[in-house]
C-alpha cells in the first residue's frame, strides 16, 4: 500500500512505468478487439432481435467503461483533494475527455439499439436519464476546470464536483431495478439463469469489454503523461518569463 502511494506521488516512477505499460496495453487491446469483432460477427443472429443484437458488443462495453472511468475520476479526485498529490490531479484531468467520449458512445449506440428494439430513440426513464446526467457531469467537470485559471483552485473545484457526482453511479446501476424501465436488467454476471446471455454472445461481449477497458487504460496513461509534461512546460515557461 505504502509502495503504491509512493508510486502515485512520484511522477518519475509513473513516467517510467507508463512508457512501457501504455504500448503493451495498446497491443493487448488490438488483439482483444480483433478477436471480439470476429466472434461478434460470426455469432448467429438473435431469434428475437435479429442482427441488431450486434450493437450489444459496442454498447455494453461503452457503458461499463463510462461508469468505470467515472469511478477512476472519483478515486483520483479524492487522492488529489485529501493528499494533494499532483499526479492524482493530472490523472483526474486526463480522464475527463475519455470518460465523456465513452459515455456519449453508450448513449448514441443505445439509441441506435433502442429504436428497432423498443420503437423509440429515447425515453426519459431511470437508466437513460442517469447516463445522460453522467455525460453532463463529465462536460461540467471539463468546463469547470477550463474556466478557472489558477490550477490549484481548478483542481479543488473539479475534485469536489467529481466526488459529488459519484452518487450518480449507484443510481445508474440500480435504476433498472428501482424504477419501471424500458432498459433490461443485467444479462451477464449477476443475471438469473433464464436472463443470462448464451456464451456465443457473452464471449465476444467480454472480449470487447476487455478491449474497451484496455483502450481506456492505454489512452489514460498517454494522457496523464501529456498532462505531466504540460505542467513541466508551464513551470519552465514561467521560470523563463521571470528571467
Amino acid at each position: 500500500m505504502a509502495h503504491m502511494v509512493s508510486f502515485l506521488t512520484n511522477p518519475r516512477a509513473f513516467m517510467a512505468f507508463s512508457r512501457i505499460a501504455a504500448p503493451l496495453l495498446g497491443v493487448a487491446t488490438t488483439g482483444a478487439l480483433l478477436v471480439g469483432l470476429w466472434l461478434g460477427f460470426t455469432a448467429p443472429e438473435d431469434y428475437q432481435q435479429g442482427d441488431s443484437i450486434r450493437i450489444l458488443f459496442i454498447h455494453v462495453p461503452a457503458a461499463w467503461v463510462a461508469m468505470f472511468s467515472y469511478l477512476c475520476l472519483g478515486v483520483a479526485s479524492l487522492l488529489s483533494l485529501v493528499f494533494r498529490h499532483a499526479l492524482a490531479d493530472a490523472a483526474a484531468r486526463a480522464c475527463a475527455p475519455l470518460g465523456a467520449a465513452f459515455t456519449a458512445l453508450a448513449l448514441i449506440t443505445g439509441s441506435f439499439w433502442g429504436r428497432p428494439t423498443w420503437g423509440t430513440w429515447w425515453e426519459w426513464d431511470g437508466r437513460m436519464t442517469s447516463v445522460l446526467i453522467l455525460l453532463l457531469l463529465w462536460l461540467a467537470y471539463i468546463a469547470l476546470r477550463a474556466s478557472i485559471d489558477d490550477e490549484a483552485r481548478a483542481a479543488r473545484a473539479g475534485a469536489i464536483l467529481a466526488l459529488v457526482g459519484l452518487i450518480n453511479l449507484p443510481v445508474i446501476h440500480f435504476s433498472v431495478y428501482w424504477w419501471n424501465s424500458l432498459h433490461q436488467g443485467s444479462s451477464t454476471f449477476r443475471a438469473e439463469a433464464g436472463d443470462r446471455l448464451p456464451d456465443v454472445y457473452l464471449t465476444p461481449l467480454l472480449l470487447m469489454s476487455l478491449a474497451y477497458m484496455g483502450l481506456f487504460g492505454a489512452l489514460w496513461l498517454v494522457r496523464i503523461r501529456t498532462e505531466v509534461r504540460r505542467r513541466r512546460i508551464r513551470v519552465l515557461t514561467l521560470r523563463a518569463a521571470e528571467g
Binding site: M15, L105, R225
Partner: protein
C-alpha cells in the same frame, strides 16, 4: 461464418459501429497528437525529456 449482412437492421447497426469507430479513432489520434506536441515543446524549451 462471417455475417456482415445486417438485413433490415443495417440502418441501425452500421451507423452505431461507424460512429463508435470514428470516436475511438479520434480519441487515439487526439491523445497521440497531444503527446507528441508536449514532447516537441519540451525539446523546444531545451529540456531533455528526462521524465520518461
Amino acid at each position: 461464418m462471417l455475417d456482415l449482412d445486417a438485413g433490415a437492421y443495417a440502418a441501425f447497426v452500421w451507423p452505431a459501429f461507424a460512429i463508435t469507430a470514428g470516436v475511438l479513432i479520434w480519441l487515439v489520434v487526439d491523445s497521440l497528437a497531444r503527446a507528441s506536441q508536449a514532447r516537441a515543446e519540451l525539446e523546444r524549451l531545451g529540456k531533455e525529456d528526462d521524465a520518461g
